[in-house]
């Protein structure tokens, strides 16, 4: 789900760049000492996950894992995913350097949105509810990413509705896989290191205590 150089009009590229810079700045301010290692690991996860291509019909789609990054990092997902995207652009030529801002927004913004949508859900004591919310976060962030990408293309001139349909349909299997992986990862974290979420939702835990 990377937009390549030259596919977008200048306005969209510049707007994407500005939003990305704002998001990265805000994310860096929100990143405290406890979050840094998690941000590094999730950045690396994203970097590698995007190389896993699932062949699908005429084309192929790949994992993104931005839902998990969003759940754990919140706004700090912006700098983490930006680093992953930048390295992919430099090493593998995915996307491109000029569209880095747009790609960052397309991938990190859904992650942040899913963070706020699902953060209460994964605090639950019931494992089933936790896994369900994690799956929603994983699948939902892919759907939102697909929509943002399509919207960017639409702003440049491609017809929105057919393109959006195509992109969302193409990503349905990825949504399922990501939802499943995200649910597994979150349930694993709950079992072996439940304080990972507590650390990052400190404010909420403090009000409960």
């Amino acid at each position: 789900m990377h937009i390549v150089d030259g596919a977008l009009s200048n306005d969209v590229v510049i707007a994407g760049g500005i939003i990305a810079v704002a998001g990265i700045g805000f994310g860096l301010r929100k990143m405290d000492m406890e979050k840094i290692p998690a941000a590094g690991i999730l950045s690396a996860t994203f970097f590698v996950a995007s190389l896993i291509h699932v062949p699908l019909g005429p084309s192929s789609v790949h994992l993104i894992m931005n839902g998990l990054a969003g759940l754990i990092l919140g706004w700090a997902a912006f700098p983490a995913l930006f680093v992953g995207l930048m390295l992919q652009a430099l090493f593998f030529g995915y996307g491109g350097v000029t569209v880095l801002g747009v790609n960052t927004v397309a991938i990190a913004l859904p992650a942040v949105m899913m963070h706020y949508a699902c953060r209460h859900g994964i605090q639950s004591q019931h494992k089933k509810i936790v896994m369900m919310w994690a799956a929603i976060a994983g699948a939902g962030s892919i759907a939102l990413t697909a929509l943002i990408v399509t919207l960017c293309l639409a702003l440049t001139g491609e017809a929105f509705i057919p393109a959006a349909k195509l992109v969302v349909i193409a990503h349905t299997p990825v949504m399922a896989i990501e939802g499943f992986l995200c649910a597994c990862a979150v349930s694993l974290i709950h079992r072996v290191k439940p304080d990972l979420f507590n650390t990052f939702f400190k404010a909420k835990v403090a009000t409960h205590a």
């Binding site: 030259g6 840094i36 590094g40 950045s43 190389l51 896993i52 291509h53 090493f91 990408v149 597994c184």
Partner: protein, 191 residues
């Protein structure tokens, strides 16, 4: 837990077989035409009927052509200029191919040369192949190097272990830098 490890292991196996999903395009001359191809780096060619826009000298659009059944497109240049071909394969997959003046078909270039220069007397010293044979040779060579070009294209797309590990190394390094900055910030706050 066991399943999870298996899944990770499986994903790594898939990773190294994976190919980037990028657009590749190239162009060459064929007789009096410029012929080109466009497709995805996983080997799929562009769908027949896809429009290819033609621009002259990095500027004005001078026309368009269409992708034929085998992912190839043709365009007949009329003057010496650099031609840029823009292919949009949909969903943000675009590619640009530029053909510079010295790559243009020979007949066009010769026409341009003779118009500016006095036609030089034939200076061939050895047995020169007739134009028909030259075209045949060009065609044969192109056909022979076709698999080689594909191989090079796919080789360029290869994500080798080195760059994957390199990327992960960069991420860890950056994490360290952020740690350093955060620690400095904390220290100055406490001081």
């Amino acid at each position: 837990m066991h399943k999870f490890i298996c899944l990770i292991a499986l994903s790594f196996i898939i990773t190294f077989q994976a190919q980037a999903h990028k657009v590749v395009a190239s162009a060459w001359t064929d007789g009096a035409d410029i012929e080109g191809e466009a497709g995805f780096s996983n080997g799929d060619m562009a769908i027949a009927g896809t429009i290819v826009d033609v621009f002259k000298n990095e500027g004005e659009k001078i026309g368009q052509t269409k992708i034929l059944d085998d992912g190839l497109f043709r365009f007949t240049p009329t003057e010496i200029a650099s031609y840029r071909f823009f292919v949009n394969l949909g969903a943000g997959h675009v590619a640009n191919v530029t053909v510079t003046p010295d790559e243009l078909p020979d007949n066009l270039r010769e026409a341009g040369v003779t118009s500016t220069k006095v036609a030089s007397p034939t200076t061939s010293t050895g047995p020169m192949p007739s134009p028909a044979i030259a075209t045949l040779i060009a065609k044969a060579v192109r056909k022979e190097i076709q698999p080689l070009r594909k191989e090079i294209a796919s080789y360029k797309e290869k994500n080798d272990l080195q760059s994957i590990l390199g990327g992960i190394g960069y991420i860890f390094g950056l994490t360290g830098i952020v740690f350093y900055i955060a620690a400095r910030r904390k220290e100055s706050r406490e001081a």
